[in-house]
């Protein structure tokens, strides 16, 4: 009962003939599958690209670095009550000082206020009628450049004097430097930020990480940490600490060390949960993994619905096809086609139909992703395996929803089928 070579050829040839013979109908039928696959491929490409960017940004943090924050995506995603998080004690410069003194594993601590934190601290910078887009305003300590990936291009960085005097000076990111001064020297110019006049003392180099929205990563302005409170008020006292381990110290050791120091400072008992977040590169990547996985699951659920709808469309049109070709089925049976021959013929047809939808979906989806990349320079990734899975999965949908019509065709009585008008 094995299928000969000729039979496979015949089955594929008939599937092709049938689909090509009803081009318009075929296209309309697979629209649901096209939409489902388009969605999967486009969003997958965007998430994959986003993932690469995020991961490289996280990795730019370095394996020897820990971030200490009042709360972060870590505690938010772990499901803690948001009001509890808000009510945690603020982190301060004094915490940084204590860690410098007491944590033996820590080489350097840099402090920053704002910077992607909560609440957001943003504003535009103005210079002689020119203005920048919304900038991330970050208050930093004098040793901020010691950790992280930012480098000074012109001028100088903040000094202890700037800190003590809470000077109205700032260091511009690459994007606002270009926006306000073009190719001119920005050093010493007076810039207005949130209603205050600041003197530009330095400009940062363009960051070399590929970023989520191109120049977004350079869309920032640094002010002395002490000055930051002038801009955002005493309530903006919460700091984020970036700590680098001493040469050769494992990150886990530093993590235990810093955690111990902070628990003592906050007077926590051994059975109490930490009221701060301590993030390493690995833990941030882990969190991102969880988020992107959750995103993927939602995507899979949504596209499953689209594929379901598409599959039902395939089933409906296959039932029509079986009815239309009742006589052909009768003839084939009279000439010696077994049930399985007819079954495979129609399964091949519905699988090809759905696979064609999958291929169109892959093409559309990757075009959309590529279009997004061209329009916004949002990074996209078009992995070949996602195409394989998309086409393979849509074929499976075709086969699944083709089983009922194909079975109906296979079970037709040859006498009735031959008599069918």
């Amino acid at each position: 009962m094995s299928m000969g070579r000729g039979l496979v050829g015949e089955i594929l040839r008939m599937a092709w003939d049938s689909l090509w013979g009803h081009k318009m109908r075929s296209v309309l039928t697979v629209l649901g599958i096209v939409i489902g696959i388009t969605m999967v491929v486009a969003v997958t490409s965007l998430i994959m690209g986003f993932d690469t960017t995020i991961t490289s940004q996280i990795e730019s943090m370095g394996t020897d670095t820990l971030i200490l924050a009042k709360f972060s995506i870590q505690s938010i995603t772990s499901g803690q009550d948001f009001m509890d998080l808000i009510n945690r004690p603020d982190l301060t410069e004094a915490d940084a000082e204590t860690i410098r003194e007491q944590a033996a594993t820590v080489d350097s601590v840099s402090v920053m206020w704002g910077g992607g934190g909560f609440p957001p601290s943003r504003g535009r910078a103005w210079y002689r009628g020119e203005r920048t887009s919304e900038l991330e305003i970050i208050g930093v300590g004098t040793d901020f450049l010691d950790s992280g990936d930012m480098q000074l291009l012109y001028g100088r960085f903040f000094t202890e004097i700037d800190m003590r005097q809470r000077s109205d000076v700032l260091v511009l990111g690459d994007a606002p430097t270009r926006a306000l001064f073009g190719v001119n020297d920005p050093i010493g110019r007076s810039v207005r930020l949130r209603g205050r006049q600041y003197r530009v003392i330095g400009a940062l180099k363009q960051r070399d990480i590929s970023s989520i929205a191109g120049e977004q990563a350079d869309n920032l302005v640094l002010v002395p940490g002490s000055n930051y409170r002038k801009l955002f008020g005493p309530r903006a006292g919460n700091a984020t600490l970036i700590m680098r381990a001493k040469e050769g110290v494992p990150i886990a050791d530093m993590q235990m060390d810093v955690e111990g120091v902070m628990r003592t400072r906050h007077g926590l008992r051994a059975d109490q949960e930490a009221d701060f977040d301590l993030l390493s590169q690995d833990s941030v990547i882990e969190i991102w993994r969880q988020i992107s996985t959750a995103f993927f699951l939602v995507l899979v659920a949504l596209s499953s619905v689209a594929l379901m709808v598409g599959g039902i469309g395939v089933m409906a049109i296959m039932l029509v096809s079986v009815t239309e070709r009742t006589r052909e089925i009768g003839v084939r049976k009279a000439l010696g086609a077994r049930r399985s021959d007819i079954l495979f013929q129609f399964l091949a047809e519905s699988a090809s139909l759905a696979a064609a939808g999958g291929i169109i979906g892959v093409l559309l989806g990757s075009s959309i992703a590529y279009g997004v990349y061209l329009a916004t320079s949002f990074p996209v990734s078009l992995p070949w395996w996602s195409f394989t899975i998309a086409v393979g999965f849509s074929s499976l949908v075709g086969i699944f929803f083709g089983i009922y019509p194909a079975n109906r065709a296979a079970r037709l009585d040859p006498v009735d089928a031959l008599r069918y008008e």
């Binding site: 009962m1 299928m3 000969g4 070579r5 000729g6 039979l7 050829g9 015949e10 003939d17 013979g21 006589r327 052909e328 009768g330 003839v331 084939r332 049976k333 009279a334 000439l335 010696g336 086609a337 077994r338 049930r339 399985s340 021959d341 009585d413 040859p414 006498v415 031959l418």
Partner: protein, 263 residues
């Protein structure tokens, strides 16, 4: 050849015991090609019982050219479906070319049809989107003949019906007579025990009908066993034996001199 008069009793079934005089160049075959005993086909609807076929015995020897005749509703189509292994009898036995087929399942019947029976239909029943060659290849495809062999056999069958030059044409590019020739080629391609032609000229004009019948006569002369199902006396006149069916029974079975010979 003399005509054998069947009994007048419509209920009696006439069994031909003797083989018809075979063509001189055909070796005498042993055994019956068809041996049917007490074939019944009964359709049970809600409360009515329709006896489409009510006990038919039929023997066909190799190289017979048999015409089954009868008005519509007589049961001749049912008989044809049973003889063609398209259907199974409610009662009775049917031995085709030495194989008992009445107890076979769908797929086994399909294999028997593929091997033993070449169908020629009234409406040709060619696949519209397939070329002549592909249509003729179909039975070979289902019997697993592949590649060059299949192509050669299909071309040989097309040559037999004189349409080798139409191999690449689709049915809509062919005349009715040519279509039926392609169908005959398809029926012959697997060297079947029986060619079963169901009203093969039903949609053709008389000239083309004659041509098609001449083709069948030629096949018969080359040793092919042919069963012709028709309600037209003209057409049944090409056969060497006439079987009349009425009300589900064979009412006459007589040898006849073909009225139309080979041109």
């Amino acid at each position: 050849m003399s005509e054998v008069e069947a009994g007048n009793d419509p209920v009696a079934t006439e069994v031909v015991e003797q083989p018809p005089s075979p063509q001189p160049d055909v070796p005498a075959a042993t055994g019956n090609m068809i041996e049917a005993r007490g074939l019944k086909k009964i359709y049970r609807m809600a409360k009515v019982e329709v006896r489409a076929l009510d006990g038919v015995d039929l023997d066909v020897m190799p190289n017979e050219f048999l015409a089954i005749m009868g008005p519509s509703g007589s049961g001749k189509s049912t008989l044809m479906n049973l003889l063609g292994c398209l259907d199974t009898p409610t009662e009775g036995t049917y031995k085709l070319n030495g194989t008992e087929v009445s107890g076979l399942d769908d797929d086994e019947l399909a294999a028997v049809r593929n091997r033993e029976i070449g169908f020629v239909f009234q409406t040709f029943n060619l696949l519209a989107r397939a070329t002549s060659l592909h249509n003729v290849e179909l039975p070979l495809i289902y019997s697993g003949v592949g590649g060059r062999n299949r192509h050669q056999r299909a071309m040989a069958a097309l040559e037999k019906v004189g349409l080798a030059d139409r191999a690449d044409h689709r049915p809509n590019e062919l005349s009715g007579g040519e279509r039926q020739r392609v169908a005959v080629a398809r029926a012959l391609v697997n060297d079947p025990a029986i060619v079963l032609a169901d009203e093969p000229t039903g949609t053709l004009d008389s000239k083309t009908s004659h041509e098609i019948m001449q083709l069948l006569v030629g096949l018969h002369e080359n040793g092919q066993t042919i069963i012709l199902v028709t309600h037209e006396d003209d057409i049944s006149g090409y056969a060497h034996r006439g079987v009349k069916v009425l009300d589900g029974l064979i009412v006459s079975d007589e040898r006849q001199t073909p009225r139309f010979g080979k041109d």
